[in-house]
């Protein structure tokens, strides 16, 4: 048991996975001596050597493409993409190759690889450093997409993603990297592909993942002061979506607000709203509402506070939901 940041949780998780399995290799830009631009791989090259912690050339298609080859050869590559906005050079490999190889080989081959992507805004960065692109990948069959939101999950989920025999996109909420939490490195963790109720409530359900979980917990706290009792769900897995957990909550509260940083149009919220109205139609007291980024390119950082969902926007949506 110990307290650590999310970044350290992932670092420790990577270390544990590498110690357990010599086939686990890390690949990415600046992940060696520098330890990655967010220092998530700090110290790993020193301890595991340059053959297992590979500083790659500055080429994302190359990173993912060669990781495919290594996986085909029996390795378990864990690649780091430096920022969300730099995944696109590798997009073709991920959606056309990584996602489809298992099906194409009729199950003869597997691609146990993890693609780590720091995601989201709120850090005052220049463009291409704050994007939420999970929906592109969740939309692609053949991939698993998960997102951690706290140190405990960071530690466990990265190891489970590495152990998965399927390719996993692993999103890390970059503005929460330095948030601390308790991590029990001995206890068994919950399954990788399971959502979690992180706060119980009765009046409405907030559904979030990654960076927005904290925002929703804060919103729930603020709402409690006004006598509203909100349940908060951390999705953890975006594909496959754990709809059972969400639906159970919605059947209890009758009201749902889905919150994410990505634009709402065709985002995760759209899928969740559609699925819930199919499944829980008679339990819903109000339409499923979405709070997300506007349908705009991510704005310059001076405007990101306006763009990103904050406490107020979440609470406003809760009020609208309760007003039905």
């Amino acid at each position: 048991m110990g307290t650590m940041t999310i970044a350290k949780g992932i670092n420790n998780g990577l270390r544990a996975a590498m110690e357990r399995d010599p086939k686990v290799v890390l690949m990415g830009e600046d992940i060696g001596k520098l330890g990655g631009v967010f220092r998530v791989t700090d110290g790993l090259q020193k301890d595991f050597g340059e053959d297992r912690v590979i500083d790659t050339p500055l080429a994302e298609a190359g990173i993912v493409g060669t990781a495919i080859g290594m996986a085909l050869r029996g390795y378990r590559p864990v690649v780091e993409i430096q920022f969300d906005g730099f995944i696109y050079p590798a997009f073709d490999h991920i959606v056309s190759q990584v996602a489809k190889m298992r099906a194409r080989s009729l199950g003869k081959i597997k691609l146990p690889m993890v693609i780590r992507i720091p995601v989201g805004g709120g850090i005052g960065a220049v463009e291409h450093h704050s994007e939420s692109n999970e929906a592109y990948f969740a939309h692609t069959a053949g991939l698993k997409v998960v997102c951690c939101s706290n140190a405990e999950d960071a530690y466990w989920m990265i190891q489970q993603a590495i152990e998965s025999d399927d390719p996993v996109l692993f999103y890390e909420p970059k503005r929460r990297y330095w948030d601390k939490g308790e991590v029990d490195e001995t206890a068994a963790s919950r399954p990788l592909l399971e959502a979690q109720v992180v706060r119980e409530g009765t009046d409405a359900t907030l559904v979030a993942y990654g960076p927005m979980v904290k925002t929703c917990l804060q919103a729930a706290e603020a709402a409690a002061a006004e006598g509203k009792n909100l349940e908060v769900i951390d999705l953890r897995t975006l594909s496959p979506l754990d709809l059972d957990t969400v639906a159970a909550s919605v059947e209890k509260t009758g009201r749902t607000v889905v919150v994410h940083e990505a634009s709402t149009f065709l985002g995760m919220g759209a899928e969740i709203a559609a699925a819930l109205q199919q499944r829980c139609f008679y339990h819903l007291e109000a339409p499923v509402l979405r709070v997300g980024g506007y349908n705009l390119p991510y704005p310059p950082s001076k405007l990101e506070e306006e763009f990103l969902p904050d406490l107020d926007r979440v609470l406003d949506a809760v009020d609208r939901s309760l007003a039905f």
Binding site: G32, V37, P57, L58, F265, P300, F307
Partner: protein, 403 residues
Amino acid sequence: MSDNAVASTGEKAGATPHEEEVLAELTAPVPEVGDGGPEMVQLLTPEGQRIENVEYDEYVKDLSDEDLRGFYRDLVLIRRVDAEATALQRQGELGIWASLLGQEAAQVGSGRAMRPQDYAFPTYREHGVAWCRGVDPLNLLGLFRGVNHGGWDPNEKNFHLYTIVIGAQTLHATGYAMGIQRDGDVGTGDEDRDAAVIAYFGDGATAQGDVNESFVYAAVNNAPVVFFCQNNQWAISEPNERQTRIPLYQRARGFGFPGVRVDGNDVLAVYAVTQQALNAARSGNGPTFIEAYTYRMGAHTTSDDPTKYRVSAEVEVWKHRDPIERLKSYLVHTQKADQDFFDAVEAEGDELAVTVREGCLNMPDPTPDSMFDHIYVEEHPVVEAERKEFAAYHAGFTTEGGH
């Protein structure tokens, strides 16, 4: 053109002993701290001594003393802007800054070789090129301050927006050059009409698929584009040897066009080499790859900590090759400039720094609803609906007296 080292690599199996040597040399790791090797074009030594170069002297012979003083002024002023921006970042006025310290000569030499109708496609560190094109430094600061994503009109000074996704702009540059070709603005012999494009990128960028694809497109189309690589030795923490096994300029040959390595800290040499390449492009002789061999004296950006991955001895070696000191020594011992001139440039730098600082501090924040502007050319119902929703939501706060 100095691309002779790759004359004949031959088939590996049947390689003669000489070819084996050449191969061994080509595939040897690139040294971390090199001096660029004998093939590097240089017109001024680090001590400021002018050295003759039959091929390139021609391109600098018409430079007047005033031109040379102008180069010096550019170097000093852009370094000053850079220093001020770094300071502003430290004081929280900029979110981040990518310093050009050490790369001034590569940028000023190449920037000054352009004609007004030429077009530059920069990455995010080309403050010196922007300066030569007449782009107000405050425009550059706006991006790093987070008030916009670029904001200037690229067509005003033929200086495209900064591109942060590594290497993407090399394809844009090539396509633009293909447009110039189709407009017939190549090889007419009219100095005011013939145009070329120059694409800037770093040593790390040469690993990207986009950059290699741009080489292919430029070559097969004989496009009027100059690929200007500032090899500052580092791609954040990764040295050249993590990106390439042969000197970068030698790659060009494999794509079918000439490559040349120039001392990137020698403004005269960079000017000469870029002149030659731009002339070739404008006159219809296609692309050239220029590798300006230089050094990033500072951190990659203000968020970076270079002490994690490089030794200070390396920085010391390069201090000795400072581009400004080099030109200054030359101007002094050839008596092309006197102390009054240097003092005047210094004073101008002080003034410029004040303008930059004040301009930065006075830069208005964008109004919140401006994020809905300029997304589409034509009106878009979703954007307009959200703009209204946004306005109504914020109006709610004022009537409620805040949340």
